[in-house]
């Protein structure tokens, strides 16, 4: 219906404006990282060894500084992110990482929530289909006439 589309027009316009703004907004933040940024990025994924629950990038502790210095040394030496992280794991054990790696048992922590959401959506879909297949309430002619009468009385 053209009326419906006329109503939708401002929304489509808004959608376009928003998308353009977000696309522009997504640019210009990430170019290639400087060395300092790389160090900070890698350190933010490694646990501070002496702290209870901070990353090596955030903490002031001596052990965290040592980790940052070592990462800095290796970044300058040209090692890749993966090599540096692997070195840390080879000394501290795999629980020095703040994010579980995506393979083996560790992948479960990433997969299970997705599976749960899929199951939930599926269940929701099944429930709605079941509800929709219920027969609607039949309105008898007398009820219709009653409603008409009352509505007319309201308008009067």
């Amino acid at each position: 219906m053209s009326g419906k589309w006329r109503g939708r027009l401002p929304w489509l316009l808004m959608g376009a404006v928003l998308v353009v703004a977000l696309v522009i907004g997504s640019q210009g933040r990430s170019g290639p990282m400087t060395e300092a940024q790389r160090v900070k990025h890698i350190a933010s994924e490694i646990r501070c060894p002496t702290c209870r629950n901070q990353s090596a990038a955030e903490s002031d502790a001596a052990a965290a500084k040592a980790v940052r210095d070592e990462i800095d040394r290796r970044v300058r030496a040209g090692q890749s992110d993966g090599e540096i992280v692997a070195f840390m794991v080879s000394r501290y054990g795999s629980d020095i990482l703040l994010k579980p790696e995506g393979s083996g048992v560790a992948s479960l922590v990433w997969a299970l929530p997705v599976v749960a959401v899929v199951v939930a959506l599926f269940g929701l879909g099944v429930a709605f289909r079941r509800w929709r297949s219920r027969p609607g309430v039949d309105v008898s002619a007398e009820d219709r006439a009653l409603v008409e009468r009352e509505l007319q009385r309201e308008d009067a």
Binding site: S26, E58, V105, L124, F128
Partner: protein, 660 residues
């Protein structure tokens, strides 16, 4: 003397709980009203026991009675008065005592509130459940977590005082009590959920009563969590406020299910639906508080908050198993009979939105819980040692929060039963356009980053929708348009949006750097100038501080410090923050000068909109108070769906619309 009094209090409380359980049990079994009336009176015995215990502990702490092991380990003559008082909850055994007194307080209020219905089996079962929970906590204090243990042998003349991190800031007097008022408060709605399932009566009457209880508990828990974030920010020195630490998560997970309940219960009130969901959410919330207590106190997970090791873990785990078994068993037994025959007509409706809300919060709860306990599961599966930290939680919860913000925007304008596109378009027009204009302005002024910009759009959209509701309501009813459940809820939504937007902005646009400065030297970061002026050393009664003076932006002088407590192992950094509505300049003394007049290393963290986290928290508190305000007395709407026939021995089938 203190030890005797305290132990007497603990045993009194335990006695009261046990005898109360037995009396009420018999009263319910025999349907004996006199026993039911008598049983509830044991509440006062429990309260007396808890009060006695607290009085004895505080008297011991304030009187420096080092014959008590707890005081010998956590008290000190040098500790200032405030921190001596709060020392009661600074370690494990005392924290159980705090739990007991808060629970006793809630129990007393509940029993008093329902005194005219004491002979109703539903109230009887609820009281019995709370007695069982209280009995458990008193049993903990009588057994593994005894706060009144006495030292054998020489009595020390002084003690180390509470953990230095708990002597640093007055918030220690507010954060734990608020948290406990919330956490423990969920026991009462849980008790009523159990009672409703046992008696098979889900009349809407009990629901309205306990909804307000849940709201209060939820409000306190929210404030407790925000205060915890504020404390972490002000005291711990890392510049952050939420680390997805296991103990932080333990307080957050029940909050999620409680929030879902507060929303979903409206569907039960209006349409009599989602009953199983609501009961399950209440049972889950309480179970999760017990699980959270276990994770915090058992030592299986490392955390900033970890209490010292103790044998308390197996006890709490057993209780958790009992609670879960009861909850699951009750739902399995009664659940299907209590299901409402109604159905949700259309997914695009208020009911549909609340159902989606339930699912999203459940997913949120699942993700946070999974991430928190996953190291334990992985180790059990194949010995892998891994850890799950901030990056995982941030990545997994972001899509859920986005979906929730979106729901927050459209749900208030969704009609019940079925919505049409025109209605939605008309009502959401201004909020959506305001949000778009805000984002365009942000992009034009140079802000970049898809995640924060999306957060700004969704946040403004949701806030706009809430403001629209409030304006319409105020226009209709004047000042009364701002109180009551729906309007208070809109204010809470605004507060949540403030917190979400501040969270996104501070994470995306924060900058941090450390500068080595000589006295008089300045440095610049993110548009701010910090000038290091010099350092001094100050000795106080309980600590020695090396303090640096730093002038920020040519104005006030701030004093980040490093504090050394006599019995602590390492020095504690004490940050100093210049807060403003726009951003916070967070200063730490990373390294003190080697010699007077030498260079110091000053850490500077600039994060925008931090203050709005605390403002948002205050708005949520105000909104909760508004929502709790008794609105115009409204009778619970008769459910549109047909009633459910339940065969219970005592009660005849309920006719439509009767509230029990």
């Amino acid at each position: 003397m203190n030890a005797t009094l305290g132990t007497a209090g603990v045993w009194l409380g335990l006695f009261g709980a046990l005898v109360g359980v037995v009396t009420l049990g018999f009263g319910l079994y025999r349907r004996d009203d006199k026993l039911l009336e008598a049983g509830r009176k044991y509440t006062w015995v429990i309260v007396a026991g808890a009060v006695l215990g607290v009085v004895a502990m505080e008297s011991a702490l304030l009187g420096h009675d080092f014959s008590l092991k707890y005081v010998a380990e956590n008290g000190s003559r040098q500790t200032p008065l405030l921190f001596t008082i709060t020392g009661m909850w600074s370690a494990l055994e005392g924290s159980i005592l705090l739990w007991a007194i808060v629970l006793a307080g809630y129990l007393a209020v509940m029993v008093h509130h329902f005194r005219t219905r004491a002979t109703d089996p539903l109230v009887g079962w609820a009281t019995l459940t709370v007695f069982v929970v209280a009995g458990f906590f008193f049993a903990l204090m009588a057994g593994p977590a005894n706060p009144f243990r006495v030292i054998h042998g020489a009595i020390p003349t002084n003690g180390p005082g509470p953990n230095p991190l708990l002597q640093n800031h007055p918030l220690v007097a507010f954060h734990p009590p608020m948290l406990y008022l919330g956490y423990v408060g969920f026991t009462i709605p849980f008790a009523f959920a159990v009672a409703a399932l046992v008696t098979g009566r889900l009349g809407e009457g009990w629901l309205v009563e306990t909804r307000r209880w849940t709201l209060f508990a939820w409000g306190f828990l929210t404030i407790g969590i925000i205060l915890g974030a504020w404390w972490s920010y002000e005291v711990l020195g890392w510049g952050g406020y939420w680390a997805w630490d296991p103990v932080e998560n333990a307080s957050f997970i029940p909050w999620l299910t409680a929030t879902a309940y507060l929303h979903s219960v409206m569907v039960q009130e209006r349409r009599g639906m989602l009953r199983i969901w609501n009961l399950s959410l209440l049972l889950a919330t309480f179970s999760l508080t017990i699980l959270g207590t276990f994770l915090t106190r058992s030592g299986v997970l490392e955390s900033v908050h970890s209490f010292t090791e103790s044998p308390i873990g197996p006890w709490i785990l057993t209780f958790f198993g009992l609670v879960v078994f009861t909850a699951v068993g009750l739902i399995a037994w009664r659940g299907d009979r209590l299901r409402s025959p109604g159905s949700i007509d259309s997914p695009v409706s208020r009911e549909g939105a609340f159902l989606a809300n339930n699912l999203l919060f459940s997913a949120f709860c699942f993700v946070v819980l999974l991430g928190t306990v996953f190291p334990l599961l992985a180790e059990a599966l194949n010995g892998d040692r891994l850890s799950v930290g901030g990056p995982y939680f941030n990545r997994m919860t972001t899509p859920i929060v986005i979906a929730l913000l979106f729901l927050m925007a459209i749900a208030p304008v969704l009609p019940w039963r079925k919505a049409s596109e025109e209605v939605l378009r008309k009502r959401l027009f201004w909020p959506a356009w305001t949000a778009t204009i805000v984002v365009v302005l942000c992009v034009v002024t140079g802000l970049r980053g898809l995640a924060p910009l999306a957060a700004f759009w969704l946040g403004t959209f949701a806030a706009g929708s809430a403001v629209r509701q409030l304006v319409l309501s105020a226009r209709r009813q004047g000042w009364r348009g701002l109180i009551g459940r729906a309007n208070g809820g809109m204010v809470v939504h605004i507060g949540v949006v403030l917190v979400a937007v501040a969270f996104a902005a501070s994470h995306a646009y924060g900058h941090t750097h450390e500068f080595r400065l000589a006295p008089g030297q300045s440095a610049h970061l993110s548009g701010h100038t910090v000038t290091y002026l010099g350092s001094s050393t100050v000795k106080a009664s309980n600590k020695t501080s090396v303090t640096a003076q730093v002038r920020v932006d040519g104005g006030k002088v701030y004093a980040p410090a490093i504090q050394q407590f006599p019995f602590a192992t390492q020095a504690i950094g004490s940050p100093s923050v210049k807060s403003s509505l726009g951003d916070d300049v967070y200063l730490t003394l990373a390294a003190a000068p080697d010699h007077p007049g030498g260079t110091a290393v000053i850490g500077v963290i600039v994060q925008p909109l931090i203050m709005w986290l605390w403002i948002g928290g205050a708005v949520i508190a105000v909104g909760t108070a508004l929502a709790a305000w008794p609105g115009r007395r409204r009778r619970p709407t008769a459910p549109v769906s047909a009633p459910v026939e339940v065969e219970t021995p005592e009660a005849p089938p309920e006719p439509v619309g009767v509230t029990s």
